[in-house]
C-alpha cells in the first residue's frame, strides 16, 4: 500500500524498478502541494504528457494547499485524460508505468492516478506480407494490440463483438485480448481458451507462436490453431463462432478451432463468382495432393511399377534416367533436400539477396545439374511441380515439406504399397486430431452435407446469407 509521504513512495517505486535508467520522476507543485509525475522514458508521448498532465497541474490555483482537495481535482474535477485509473500500491505503479502510463503522486495522499499517455513508436497499418489477396482490404494487423483491436472493431460496429483483455507472462506481462461474437460463440470454448492462457507457465511472451502450443491439443503434425494477419479474415472466423486471440507485439492473430478444410479457403473466393470459387478450390486440393504425393509416386512407379507408366513416357523417362549416376530414390531425396535448403535460404535472407538466391538456385544450378548429368530432367520437373504446388496452400507449407519427404522414402523404398500404408497412417493421424472437441478433418470426415456449400464449392451469397454461419452443428457445441 502507498504511504502518505511522497518521498517514501518514490523511493519504494525506484527500489522496485531497480533504479532503472529509463524511469523518470518529475517533482513539481500543484497548487501549494508537492506532486511527483512518474513515467517511463520512451513509453510515453511527451506532447500528451505536457498537454494532458503538466498543463492542468500547473493551472491549479497556488492558494489551494489541501492535498485531499488536489486529489479530488485530479481524480474527478480536472479534465486530464480519458484513460485514467487510481493506483494504490507501488506494484500497481510499476505495472502502469511500464505499460506506458504516467502516475501522479501527491504529497499527503496515500493514492496515485495512472494517466494514459502512451506514445511508443509503432509500425503503421500496411498490407499483410503473407496473406495477400486480390480484391480484399489492404490492411493487416500490426504489433500494437490496441491498433489491432480497433481494426477488428471497425469491421463489427456492434455490441455482439466482445473483447476481454488479460495479462500473461510473469516477466513480459504481455497483454492478450480474447475476442468473440456473443450470439454465435460457445461460452464453454471461450472459458477453456481463457483457462489455458491463464495456466500458461511462460514468463516471456514475445510472439503469437509462444502462446499457440498452449492452445493446441497434442497432435504431432497438424496445428488446430489458426493464425492470420488479416483483420477481415479474423472477423469472418469470429462470425462463425470461433474464439479469437490477439497478442500484443504480434502481427498475427490466432483463432480456435481451426479445421483442415480452412487451409483451402481464401478471402478472394467470396468476391469471385461461385463457379470460379469451386474451380479454384478444387485446384488447391489437387495442388496439395500433387505436392505431397507426386515425387513419392514417381519414385514408386519408376522403381517398382514401370508397367503403370504409359509406354511412350516410360521410354523417355528411361532414356533420361540412364544418363544419371544415382538411383531414382537418391536423386529424389537429393533434389528435395536441395529445394528445402533453397527455400530456407530464400526465407531468411534480405529480399534483394533472396531473389538472387532463387535465380542462382532455381535456374543456374537446376540447369547445370541436368546438363552435367547429375540428375534427370523428369525428376527435376517432378520436384519443381511438387514444390510450386505446395505454395498454393501456404498455411500447410511445413506439413507438406515433411509429408512429401516421408512419401518419397515410402514410395522409393516400398513402392505403391509403402505409399498406400503411409497415406493410410497420415489419414488416421489427421482424423484423430480434434480441436476443442471438433474433428480436425470435418466436414470432410465426419461428413456434413450442410457444410459442403462452403467447403469444396462456395454457394452464392444469396444462399449463404440465409444459412447459419455457426460452425457448431445442431447446437452441440453450445
Amino acid at each position: 500500500m502507498l504511504e502518505r509521504e511522497l518521498e517514501k513512495n518514490t523511493v519504494n517505486v525506484r527500489a522496485l524498478m531497480k533504479n532503472t535508467s529509463d524511469l523518470t520522476m518529475k517533482y513539481a507543485k500543484a497548487g501549494g502541494v508537492g506532486v511527483c509525475v512518474i513515467s517511463c522514458d520512451g513509453q510515453t508521448d511527451t506532447n500528451r504528457l505536457a498537454n494532458l498532465v503538466y498543463r492542468p497541474l500547473s493551472g491549479i490555483d497556488p492558494s489551494v494547499n489541501d492535498p485531499d482537495r488536489i486529489a479530488a481535482m485530479i481524480g474527478g474535477e480536472l479534465l486530464i485524460a480519458c484513460d485514467e485509473k487510481p493506483v494504490e500500491s507501488a506494484e500497481e505503479i510499476v505495472a502502469a508505468v511500464t505499460a506506458g502510463f504516467c502516475v501522479i503522486l501527491i504529497d499527503g495522499v496515500a493514492k496515485g492516478w495512472a494517466i494514459g499517455v502512451q506514445g511508443f513508436e509503432t509500425r503503421s497499418v500496411t498490407q499483410p506480407e503473407n496473406h495477400r489477396n486480390i480484391r480484399g482490404a489492404r490492411e493487416g494487423f500490426v504489433e500494437a494490440l490496441h491498433t489491432n483491436m480497433s481494426l477488428v472493431r471497425r469491421r463489427v460496429k456492434s455490441p455482439e463483438l466482445v473483447f476481454r483483455t488479460m495479462t500473461v507472462g510473469k516477466t513480459s506481462r504481455t497483454e492478450i485480448c480474447v475476442c468473440r461474437m456473443d450470439s454465435v460463440s460457445d461460452r464453454k470454448l471461450e472459458n477453456e481458451v481463457i483457462e489455458r492462457l491463464e495456466k500458461m507457465p511462460l514468463s516471456l511472451v514475445l510472439e503469437s507462436g509462444f502462446v499457440q502450443p498452449f492452445l493446441e491439443d497434442k497432435h504431432p503434425l497438424f496445428s488446430e490453431v489458426g493464425a492470420t494477419e488479416r483483420p477481415d479474415v479474423f472477423v469472418s472466423k469470429l462470425y462463425e463462432g470461433r474464439i479469437g486471440i490477439i497478442i500484443d507485439g504480434s502481427p498475427f492473430a490466432l483463432y480456435v478451432p481451426k479445421l483442415f478444410s480452412e487451409n483451402f479457403i481464401m478471402l478472394d473466393d467470396y468476391v469471385e463468382k461461385p463457379v470460379f470459387a469451386l474451380f479454384i478450390r478444387l485446384v488447391r486440393y489437387t495442388a496439395f495432393l500433387v505436392s505431397i504425393l507426386l515425387p513419392g509416386f514417381y519414385a514408386a512407379l519408376a522403381n517398382f511399377h514401370p508397367e503403370l507408366i504409359p509406354d511412350s513416357l516410360l521410354r523417355n523417362l528411361a532414356a533420361a534416367e540412364s544418363l544419371t549416376p544415382y538411383s531414382v530414390l537418391t536423386e529424389c531425396v537429393i533434389l528435395d533436400v536441395f529445394y528445402e535448403i533453397m527455400r530456407e535460404a530464400g526465407l531468411r535472407l534480405p529480399s534483394n539477396v533472396g531473389h538472387a538466391v532463387s535465380i542462382v538456385g532455381g535456374i543456374v544450378i537446376g540447369d547445370i545439374v541436368v546438363s552435367a548429368g547429375l540428375v534427370g530432367a523428369p525428376m527435376l520437373l517432378t520436384i519443381a511441380i511438387a514444390s510450386i504446388s505446395g505454395y498454393i496452400v501456404s498455411d500447410l507449407n511445413n506439413q507438406i515439406s515433411l509429408m512429401r519427404f516421408v512419401f518419397i522414402l515410402a514410395g522409393g523404398l516400398f513402392g505403391l504399397f509403402g505409399l498406400t500404408v503411409t497415406a493410410f497412417v497420415f489419414c488416421v493421424s489427421a482424423c484423430s486430431a480434434e480441436s476443442y472437441g471438433m474433428p480436425f478433418m470435418s466436414p470432410l470426415s465426419p461428413f456434413s452435407a450442410k457444410a459442403m456449400r462452403d467447403t469444396f464449392a462456395r454457394a452464392g451469397w444469396r444462399k449463404l446469407a440465409r444459412t447459419d454461419p455457426d460452425i457448431f452443428d445442431g447446437g452441440e457445441g453450445k
Partner: protein, 363 residues
C-alpha cells in the same frame, strides 16, 4: 460452415462398412466365384435379401433395448451364456479378420503390388493396423470414410472412361440359368455379409443407430456390387470369369489412355479398405472381450493380440492355401454366419427378456 462435433455418425460407419463389403467382392478370385450374365444380378439381390432376413432379429431386439450393444444384452443371460457367446463371436471375428488379411495379400501380390513380398506385406499392414487401433475407432472410421470417398471418385472415373465400351447386348434376359449354381452363388455372396454384425458391436456411445446403420450398409453394398457386376458383364461379358480381378482389370480397358493407369489407385483403395476392415473386426473383438468376458482393462491388449493372430493366420493361409480352401468351403455355405447371427439374436433377446422381467418384478 457447420460441422459435426461428436461421434462417428450412422452414415459414416455405414459407408465404411459398405466399403469393407465391396472390398471383399473386389478382392475375390473371380475364376472361382463370379458368374456371368443376368443370373449374377439375381444372386446378388437374393443374397442381400437373405442377409437382411438373417440379421433382422438381432437388430429388432437391439432397437427394443435402446442405447446398448449386443454384448451388453447377452450379459443379462448370465456369465456362462455370455462367455460361450463371446467365445463363438471371437472365433468368428478372428476367421473374418484372417480371411481379410489373406485376401488383401492375394490381391496385392496379384496386382500392381506384386513387388510386396509376404513378410513385408504383413509387417507393414500390421504396423498400420497397430497405429489405427491405437488411435481408436473414431479416427479409423473417419479415415475409412475418406477411402470410401476415394472409391466413389474412382468408380465415377471408371464409369466415365468406360462409357464407350459398355455393350448392353452382353446382358441376356434369362434371370435363372442353372438353379443349382444360383443357389451356390447366393449362399456364397450371403456368406460375405459379416460386416452386418459390426454395427451391433460398435455403435454404443458413438452417436449412431445400429439398425439404421446396418440397413444403410446393406443398401449401399448391394448398390455398389450391382453396379460393379453391371460393369463386369457389359464390358467383359463371358470373359469375366477368366480375369483375376475384374474391378482391377476394368481400370485398364478404357479408351482414354490417361485413365488406363488408375488401376494403381484401385489397389491403393482396396489395401486401405482391407486395413480398415481388419481394424473394425479388432474393435469388435475388443468390445466382445470387454463386455462378454468382463475384462475391460485387458481388452486393449487383447485387441493387439487379436490383430497379430489374424495376420499370422493369414500368413499361414498363404503358406497352406488348401487349409484356407477347406475353411472357406465351410464358410461360403453361409452356415457360420447364420449360426453367429441366430445365436447372437437369441442370446440378446433372452438377455432383454430377462432384464424386462427383472424390472417388472422390481415394480
Amino acid at each position: 460452415m457447420s460441422v459435426k462435433t461428436s461421434g462417428i455418425g450412422t452414415g459414416g460407419l455405414a459407408a465404411v462398412l459398405a466399403l469393407s463389403r465391396i472390398f471383399s467382392e473386389a478382392a475375390l478370385l473371380p475364376g472361382e466365384y463370379i458368374g456371368y450374365g443376368m443370373q449374377r444380378f439375381t444372386a446378388v439381390v437374393l443374397s442381400f435379401i437373405l442377409a437382411a432376413a438373417v440379421w433382422l432379429p438381432l437388430y429388432l431386439v437391439m432397437q427394443r433395448a435402446g442405447e446398448v450393444s449386443a454384448p451388453d444384452l447377452v450379459c443379462g443371460c448370465g456369465r456362462a451364456v455370455s462367455g460361450f457367446t463371446g467365445t463363438i463371436l471371437s472365433v468368428y471375428l478372428l476367421f473374418c479378420a484372417a480371411e481379410t488379411g489373406f485376401r488383401a495379400h492375394c490381391y496385392a501380390s496379384g496386382t500392381a503390388f506384386d513387388s510386396a513380398p509376404s513378410a513385408y506385406f504383413y509387417i507393414f499392414t500390421g504396423a498400420a493396423l497397430l497405429f489405427a487401433v491405437s488411435r481408436g475407432l473414431k479416427p479409423t472410421v473417419r479415415a475409412g470414410f475418406l477411402a470410401f470417398a476415394g472409391f466413389l471418385l474412382l468408380l465415377a472415373l471408371i464409369v466415365l472412361s468406360l462409357l464407350p465400351d459398355i455393350k448392353m447386348d452382353r446382358l441376356y434376359p434369362s434371370l435363372i440359368d442353372d438353379p443349382r449354381s444360383l443357389l451356390s452363388e447366393v449362399l456364397d455372396e450371403f456368406s460375405r455379409s459379416s460386416e452386418l454384425l459390426l454395427p451391433a458391436l460398435l455403435c454404443r456411445g458413438q452417436g449412431c443407430k445400429p439398425a439404421k446403420c446396418a440397413g444403410i450398409c446393406l443398401l449401399m453394398s448391394c448398390g455398389g456390387i450391382l453396379l460393379m457386376t453391371f460393369l463386369y458383364n457389359t464390358v467383359f461379358g463371358h470373359l469375366v470369369s477368366l480375369l483375376d480381378y475384374p474391378f482391377y482389370a476394368l481400370s485398364s480397358v478404357s479408351d482414354i489412355t490417361l485413365l488406363h493407369r488408375i488401376n494403381g489407385i484401385d489397389v491403393m483403395i482396396w489395401v486401405s479398405a482391407a486395413i480398415v476392415r481388419l481394424a473394425l473386426f479388432t474393435f469388435a473383438f475388443r468390445e466382445t472381450v470387454s463386455v462378454c468376458f468382463s475384462a475391460k482393462k485387458a481388452a486393449p491388449v487383447c485387441g493387439y493380440v487379436f490383430g497379430a493372430a489374424a495376420l499370422l493366420i493369414s500368413d499361414l493361409f498363404t503358406a497352406y492355401p488348401e487349409m484356407y480352401d477347406s475353411l472357406n468351403n465351410v464358410c461360403s455355405s453361409g452356415i457360420p454366419l447364420t449360426a453367429a447371427a441366430v445365436m447372437l439374436a437369441a442370446a440378446s433377446g433372452t438377455g432383454l427378456a430377462l432384464k424386462n422381467k427383472g424390472k417388472a418384478a422390481e415394480r
